[in-house]
Amino acid sequence: MAEQTRALRVLLIPAVLLAVGVATACATGPVSDAKVVPWVEKAVAERQPTAADKRFDEIAWVTDVRTAIKLGKEHNRPIFYYHGDGRINTGRC
């Protein structure tokens, strides 16, 4: 009985994996020649950053400390100075 169960598993598991693989390939598989241009245009458009993604841009940034200090003195405003690894403006951080 145990051997039969083991044999069944040996056959069944690859079959299930194959079926999942085929289903995945069908869902996301190659785009036909006829559809590739609109498919790519739509995918590229949908993946652009939204306004919510870009709220960081709504802050009135300058990008060097000397300019910030000059403006701070001119307008008598404190300076909010963010520093970090990577690039916060592109998300590569």
């Binding site: 241009v37 790519v40 400390v65 909010f80 963010y82 520093h83 970090g84 916060i88």
Partner: protein
């Protein structure tokens, strides 16, 4: 902070109303002019002398003259608002309009008029923290580079060719989701290809589909050695007239870094001419 307080309307309004805002990338320290480095060093030294908590990532409030007042690290929106409120009480600025106009902070680099600039967007399918907003790269292809993407001689329907491998690698090396490590060296790539097939030729304008794939190793955190496998399948469209800069669009059909699915889009954008 960008995914939290720096995307919170209340924090944005408070900053624009009463502060001068500046951000710098530590990576740029050695590229900065000497005068700028001196100021960065001075702020750091003065902050240390005041025994302020200072890490590699965080924010200072400086006095209008540029002297450290307080620092802030890994704060929520509420904590940031309270922090800014204390600074306003301390320095009593006159609230008003932003001192400079807010503007897009990720813009195409200046390039030669005949260059092609690509804008790449990459985003994990997850949201929150690292997945909260997409990562961007700008890739500039000089004429000598983009010329290699195009076939030589007459073009015919159904014609196929592999895009120049060096130029393809320069694009595909940025096909990774948002990670703290941004080492985009091409030697991370193990296997890759982008091939084109002409679909239409109309009035001298060629439209070709692109199919490709990428296999590489990418580390999430800088300085680590635990690279995770990354795989991506790509389709795209290349449009060109002989001798003219092409337009290229690419999109992943499936992509995964370790256990994390992600999506990439690349498009050609108008030139920022230098």
């Amino acid at each position: 902070m960008r995914a939290g307080p720096l995307s919170d309307r209340r924090v944005i309004d408070a900053l624009n109303r009463s502060f001068v805002c500046v951000y710098t990338a530590n990576d740029d320290y050695f590229k900065a002019p000497a005068g700028e480095r001196q100021e960065l060093d001075r702020i750091y030294r003065e902050g240390m002398a005041k025994k302020l908590p200072i890490g590699t990532v965080g924010a200072y409030v400086l006095s209008p003259e540029g002297h450290p007042y307080k620092t802030l690290q890994f704060a929520s929106s509420e904590e940031t608002l309270a922090f800014l409120g204390r600074a306003v009480q301390q320095f009593k600025p006159t609230p008003g309009k932003p001192v400079v106009a807010p503007a897009p902070q990720s813009t195409p680099p200046r390039a030669a008029p005949d260059a092609v600039t690509l804008h790449l967007i990459s985003r994990g399918d997850d949201r929150g923290s690292w997945g909260e907003f997409p990562a961007e790269n700008w890739i500039v292809l000089a004429r000598a580079d983009w010329s290699k993407l195009l076939p030589t001689g007459d073009v015919s329907l159904g014609q196929t060719w592999e895009l120049d491998r060096a130029v393809s690698a320069r694009i595909l090396t940025y096909f990774y989701p948002q990670t703290e490590n941004n080492d985009a060296r091409i030697d991370r790539i193990q296997q890759y290809s982008l091939t084109a097939k002409v679909l239409t030729v109309q009035d001298g304008l060629v439209t070709a589909r692109i199919d490709g794939f990428l296999r590489m190793q990418h580390v999430f955190y800088p300085g680590r050695t635990d690279a995770q496998p990354l795989g991506a399948e790509v389709v795209g469209v290349l449009t060109f007239a002989p001798g003219q800069p092409p337009s290229l669009q690419l999109a992943t059909t499936q992509a995964q870094h370790g256990q994390r699915p992600f999506k990439v889009a690349v498009r050609t954008v108008p030139q920022a001419v230098r």
